[in-house]
Amino acid sequence: MARIIKVSKLNYRYPDGTIGLKDVSFEVEEGETMVIIGANGTGKSTLFMNLMGILDGVGYIEIMGLMLNKINLKDIRRGVGMVFQNPDDQLFCPTVMDDVSFGPLNLGLNADQVIEASQKALALVDLQGYESRTSHHLSFGEKKRAAIATVLSMNPRILLLDEPTGGLDPRSISKFINILYTLKSQGKTLLIVTHDLFLTQEIADRVLVFSEEKKPVAVGDYKEILKNYDLLLKNNLVHQHRHRHDEVVHEHEHRHGYIHEH
């Protein structure tokens, strides 16, 4: 497998002086799903903004063999689709169709190709028939799926998803995971930012853990990482919780799918 993303020694500081990223280095192989987990405010979204060239941190970023700079920026954005956390930021056109066709139109495709690409993208996220709906009348789950369709219509090689399951109900989450599986089977490289360990377990090939010092502390196979309690606990991804049964209070780590002895 070929390397598709390489980041080394990336540093970013917000205009007000707050540190956004500190010495971030990692690599992603083509076709793999890398899940980036970390607590709130650990710089995961900032990393995405840097990868897309919206924020310019100091360091080296290479995507699809191209170094991220002003000259390559357009080509990189052509091949990388990023979905924002809040679908209201992603869907800015009056109708869903306008939004989904926005990317391909800007790529310079002709009308027929644009319509075909948009229909395909809408079918993939199960939103056929929503073309002329206005975005603000969609439910949150539908908005999230429409947001993904807006970048799928550009047929990117790499997808950056910021909190894809945040704020969704269980059925929407499973629908979303299905979509992610389809994308994975199409050979797309997925980079997903989340703190949902359930999603991580479902979809990840490799996991990158961000610490609260705004830098990655561990990277590896998802099974290894998810087994490593100390690591997860230290980085605020699981927590101790106390509960009571049979009038006895006891304390243990909280983890999904983990049944403990009493």
Binding site: M52, F84, D89, P94, M97, L105, N106
Partner: protein, 278 residues
């Protein structure tokens, strides 16, 4: 959304009734409605009979739209008070021949003939225009209207601006309402001064949020290759119905306007004053 927002009620995508007016190309509607409004505005208010004819024309258009009069009146009643409020003071301000004086203790208000006519001018023309506007908005979805404008070569920037307004006004209203709710949940009565301070904070927060959202949206746009041009795949085509409608409107407008020309001629010949010529 609560139903109280008149903006929402006006902008909401209508339930499609499949009427003639809905099937028309948005460009046809924009051109014909705009020409009706233009003719109406350019008609001197003294030709009351012409306005009767305009009203009939609008009624006919309303008939084609298949919207019930109740629906139309409901929306008109939302907008008219605004105009009334603005026009209310005109009779008192305008200088000219005094027709009626009002005296309240030391204050004296004069209503002039010119003022009264201007008042009537504003009210009649705006009410009729509002009627037309309501019919137009209830038979055209806003996105279609924007596309029509774009195809009529209205400056792109303006169209894009309007489309953003349409997209985000609801999000903004929502955000404002959330702020109001958060305030009212923690609000247990305070002095007026305090309330204004809180209001100021809220406006400030709303502004910052809007500003930051705008930045995020712009990033979302450039990521997807935005280069300053708003493109769209949806295209409209003129049908025979469009041409028929357009011709109908223009013929009736010409009839009304030419009648007006004759009357002005008559007034000029008989040498009567404009007011007396009615």
């Amino acid at each position: 959304m609560r139903d109280g927002y008149f903006g929402l009620r006006l902008c909401r995508t209508m339930k499609l009734t499949n009427s003639l007016l809905e099937k028309l190309d948005p460009r046809t509607k924009i051109i014909s409605f705009l020409s009706v409004i233009l003719c109406m505005i350019l008609t001197p208010i003294t030709r009351i009979r012409d306005f009767g004819l305009y009203f009939l024309l609008i009624l006919a258009i309303g008939f084609f739209s298949r919207i019930t009069p109740k629906q139309i009146l409901k929306k008109v009643c939302i907008l008219v008070p605004f105009v009334l409020f603005i026009a209310m003071f005109v009779p008192f301000i305008k200088e000219g021949n005094v027709c009626w004086s009002l005296k309240i203790s030391n204050w004296k208000f004069d209503i002039t003939y010119e003022g009264a006519w201007t008042f009537l001018n504003i009210i009649v023309k705006s009410t009729l225009s509002i009627f037309l506007l309501v019919i137009a908005t209830s038979t055209t979805t806003f996105p279609d209207f924007l596309k029509g404008l774009d195809m009529l070569r209205v400056p792109r920037l303006l169209v894009v601006l309007m489309s953003f307004m349409y997209r985000y006004i609801f999000v903004l209203i929502d955000e404002a309402r959330k702020l109001m709710r958060a305030r009212s949940l923690r609000y247990f009565g305070s002095r007026y001064k305090e309330q204004f301070r809180v209001m100021g904070y809220m406006i400030g927060v709303l502004f910052i949020r809007t500003f930051e959202r705008a930045e995020r949206i712009y990033s979302a746009m450039i990521i997807r290759g935005f280069s300053g041009e708003a493109l769209s795949v949806k295209r409209f085509r003129f049908s025979s119905m469009d041409i028929l409608f357009l011709v109908g409107i223009i013929v009736s407008l010409v009839c009304i306007v030419s009648g007006l020309v004759n009357k002005i001629e008559h007034i000029r010949v008989s040498g009567a004053h404009l007011w007396q010529g009615l």
